[in-house]
């Protein structure tokens, strides 16, 4: 079974971010970058499927040279090989879906697992768009994935409002990973050192025949409004009346 997993390089969710003076993106100097946490869950799930079924886990990332760090991180976790699409310009989710569709055509994986969204821009569209471009069935926001005994279908549990939904999709299919799908493993230190021996193929968008032209662009980023100080009330009655009339919560 061949599983393709996507990893995106994102700023560390725990880092304190500042917006660039032009207001279009964050300042990246001195910021630590990590594998998008949802993609890490996707890698873990791919490894677990491989460990049960045997097969190969291929990890793909798009970006400039630095994203190979995130590919290596996934290889250190246990993925078998990497594909690095070297592209330094700007892109939107549809461009990424187009690039991934070409990779899928080349690799012909049985399952493609993506994080449900990247934690930097929270778009969460690439998985859906990729399924549409390929005409593949999809199961988004997976909290549990099982492969049927005949290896022709995936049974996917999804967390929906107020309960769970279990879907069955035919392979090849697209799955996007939700938070509770699994807890990603730590890469062991010997595997980190060995990851550099694993192959990473470098491709360009031109060689894939994709013309990147983002239709969605960021116009402005702004920080959340600063919290205002609270007010002191004289009595419980005062508090209750303010909650009723001003906050309107009771």
């Amino acid at each position: 079974m061949k599983i393709l997993v996507t990893v995106k390089r994102v700023s560390d969710p725990e880092a304190k971010l500042k917006i660039k003076p032009d207001g279009l993106w964050i300042q990246t100097e001195g910021v630590k970058f990590v594998v998008n946490p949802f993609d890490e869950i996707a890698v873990e799930e791919a490894l677990r499927i491989k460990e049960k079924q045997t097969g190969e886990v291929v990890v793909v990332s798009v970006g400039d040279k630095v994203v190979t760090e995130q590919i290596r991180a996934a290889l250190a976790m246990g993925a078998d090989r990497g594909i690095f699409v070297n592209y330094a310009g700007s892109y939107d989710s549809y461009d990424i879906a187009n690039i991934l569709a070409k990779i899928v055509e080349q690799e012909k994986p049985d399952i493609i697992i993506l994080g449900k969204q990247a934690v930097d821009d929270d778009m969460g569209q690439a998985g859906f768009m990729l399924a549409e471009l390929l005409g593949y069935p999809q199961a988004a926001f997976a909290s549990k994935v099982e492969i049927t005994d005949d290896k022709k279908k995936a049974k996917v549990t999804r967390e929906i409002d107020g309960g769970l939904e279990v879907k069955e999709v035919e392979l090849p299919c697209i799955i996007t990973a939700d938070l509770r799908l699994n807890t990603p493993r730590y890469a062991s230190l010997p595997n980190i050192m060995k990851a550099k021996q694993k192959p990473v193929k470098e491709l360009t968008v031109e060689s894939l025949g994709v013309a990147v032209k983002p239709r969605v662009t960021v116009k402005k980023l702004s920080e959340p409004p600063k919290r205002k100080g609270g007010v002191k009330v004289e009595s419980v009655q005062d508090l209750v009346s303010k909650l009723k009339t001003e906050a309107k919560v009771i």
Binding site: K32, E69, A76, A187, S188, L189, M193
Partner: protein, 365 residues
């Protein structure tokens, strides 16, 4: 010349260990300090990270990572940044395995590396420090007498980590005729071959089980002797380099905590970090952390080059142990009353940091 730029793999080693330090070790550090017990799951998780046996050759069932002192000091700093007691417990098997790897015979490697399991933490340790007034490492009082077929060991060793749960202990002792460091060899004793006295009651490292052991004529067959052929000085250099890296980790933890506290704690209308006395102290603390890291890196780099790092490692350990007192004491001071109460970890780091000045051979690279 040298480069201070971490390779992609080294950066990943650092980040992985820091993550483990913050998300696993720090979650249980206070509880472990209070109870004197380290959760088994944490030790096992550290083992699965490859910390204990990752460097053992593949031919003996290990993962076959190259033994690199530079990589090790990067890892040790991050682990000690999490918790020193846990780090020393998880790394105790290296005190045994690394000397065997460097100086052991084929049979010894086969036997003991085979007892290390990739999927389960197995305890191993070493015994060096002695409970003597004016303990002098060059004049060990633990002796090995040639009794024909085997050696008879006599003496006492203190601060032996996890002696109660180790499958084998490497005891360093002096042969009757040996001179200085060159006369010291290692003697491998299985569990039960010596008496374990009561657990040490220490100011710091309260979660780490350490024991005094007593060797009252314990017999060691001749094929269980680890002949160091003068290599004890190298082992000491490797251990002192490890000590400097561990010190850097504990000090970085204390410095960062005090820094963040001083930016949030407001007194007389402004954060105390903007007071000169606090700011200057923090600047000095940061400088010292950086200095000790550089000393650890330097002696580690020399070891990897096959150079004699005996002097540099000793200077690093001495410098770091002193600076650690300055840094952790001032971290508790900056927190004021909060530095005294157990709610904040700085008092624990202060107690743990004391160990660096009084112990040898707590870890090895």
């Amino acid at each position: 010349m040298v480069s201070f730029e971490l390779s992609e793999e080294q950066a990943l080693l650092r980040d992985t260990c820091r993550d483990f330090a913050l998300k696993v070790m720090r979650k249980q550090d206070r509880q472990s300090d209070e109870s004197g017990e380290i959760p088994k799951e944490i030790v096992q998780q550290g083992h699965e990270l490859g910390l204990t046996t990752g460097y053992l050759p593949e031919a003996y069932g290990g993962a076959g990572s190259e033994l690199s002192a530079v990589n090790s000091v990067i890892v040790l700093e991050e682990l000690a940044y999490g918790n020193l007691s846990m780090t020393l417990h998880i790394l105790a098997p290296s005190l045994f395995n690394i000397p065997v790897m460097l100086y052991g015979g084929e049979e010894q490697k086969k036997k003991y590396f085979g007892m290390n399991k990739p999927d389960k933490f197995q305890g191993f340790t070493a015994a060096l420090t002695e409970p003597a007034v004016r303990f002098d490492i060059e004049a060990l009082k633990t002796t090995a007498y040639d009794a024909g077929d085997d050696f008879a060991l006599n003496g006492e060793k203190a601060f032996v980590a996890i002696a109660d749960s180790s499958l084998a202990t490497l005891v360093f002792a002096k042969k009757g005729s040996g001179e200085g460091l060159a006369g010291i060899d290692g003697y491998i004793l299985p569990a039960g071959a010596f008496a374990i006295k009561e657990r040490e009651k220490n100011q710091g490292l309260r979660a780490l089980k350490q024991f005094t052991i007593s060797l009252d004529g314990s017999r060691v067959p001749k094929n269980e002797v680890l002949k160091l052929s003068g290599g004890f000085a190298t082992l000491l250099a490797r251990a002192r380099t490890a000590s400097t890296a561990l010190t850097t980790g504990v000090c970085k933890a204390a410095y960062e905590y005090a820094l963040n506290y001083s930016k949030e704690r407001v007194a007389f209308g402004e954060p105390i970090a903007s007071r000169q006395s606090i700011a200057f102290t923090l600047a000095e603390m940061a400088t010292e952390v950086d200095a000790m890291r550089l000393m650890a890196w330097k002696s580690a780099w020399m070891l990897d080059k096959g150079m004699d790092a005996y002097k540099e490692a000793a200077m690093g350990k001495r410098y770091a142990a002193d600076a650690a007192m300055f840094i952790t004491r001032n971290a508790t001071q900056i927190l004021g009353g909060h530095g005294f109460v157990r709610e904040h970890p700085v008092e624990m780091w202060y107690r743990d940091a004391r160990s660096f000045a009084v112990s040898e051979f707590m870890a090895i690279v």
